[in-house]
Assembly symmetry: C2
Homo-oligomer: 188 residues x 2
């Protein structure tokens, strides 16, 4: 099973500003440090994040997400094997909680490798382009959207013409917190 | 007060297919005719629609929405005065439940005229381009999104680079039905 979790970003994303201008507002709910809830996220948000971490058995991401994200993460983004889809191969990169493996044989083969590594848990697909490729290929079973009430105006769109014709989902599970609306869509 | 309610569409919208290819799936929740609920929408959806109709005192739309929508509506889309923003002026068009008035002096002036006509009720801004212009000008107080679980792949985007810098909203009121997730955003 592949669960797709991907992220838009503001304009001008770079290694120093991996989510682009104002893009950190899209993730602030995950890292609240205002002391109201022990310095972490709201309880409802924490429950969503914990649920996500519990079900992820492997990660698939694009090279650009890896390049922009690594310094910020300082480790693998989930404590699981991470597969990075790339045109420029390189050796494995072992981190504290998992290893980055670089794969060059396209999104479908990369997803199959990640699924094998995840065993009975989910593959989290993260990063815009890879997520859209998997979506267009009909390989995504769940879509997790964390909808933050801000219009950035410009930047990286979540759904940039996936070119997959209409794809229908079931009505989502909704978890609402003061910061964010979590929508979990399953295939019919 | 301006409440913005606008609609994406599938590709190749035209008078015969005003919501574009597969775009009718975005509105099916409003017109269900499967007999399960007396031939109309689900009760939760009916309540949202009735609330919308009760608070709309005038409508502002673009010329393209008028041109593509008129045949389908057969009347004004809400029982209220409707202002159509256009570059090509023409005389008023009286329908059964209200009159279309064509205005050429730009979105801000058009919105002011609609607000005067609406008195203490809301102006519904409908149609992509006019909605985005009002949003970029900071004139939208509420955003009503009816989120249907289908990815059309191509078509008219709801937020096509409003170019207004980040705009923050309060956490939405969520009304969930089996067909659609209604999100009502207010300005902070």
């Amino acid at each position: 099973m592949a669960a797709c979790r991907w992220t838009g970003a503001g304009p001008n994303d770079s290694e120093g500003q991996p989510l682009g201008e104002n893009g950190e507002r899209l993730h602030a709910w995950m890292f609240r440090r205002d002391g109201q809830h022990g310095g972490g996220p709201e309880p409802a948000d924490a429950q969503v994040v914990n649920g996500l971490f519990a079900c992820v058995g492997a990660v698939l991401m694009g090279r650009r997400t890896f390049d922009l994200g690594l310094r910020n993460w300082g480790d693998v983004p989930f404590p699981a094997p991470c597969f990075v889809l790339t045109h420029r191969t390189r050796g494995d990169l072992a981190m504290g909680n998992g290893t980055f493996t670089f794969v060059t044989d396209g999104p479908v083969a990369a997803l199959r490798r990640a699924e094998a590594a995840a065993s009975d848990r989910d593959v989290a697909v993260t990063g815009g382009a890879v997520g859209r490729q998997c979506l267009a290929a009909g390989l995504v079973d769940e879509l997790h959207i964390h909808l933050v009430p801000v219009l950035l105006g410009r930047g990286v769109r979540l759904f940039e013409d996936p070119d997959a014709g209409p794809i229908g989902w079931r009505s989502p599970e909704v978890t609402q917190s003061p910061q964010v609306t979590h929508l979990r869509y399953l295939r019919p």
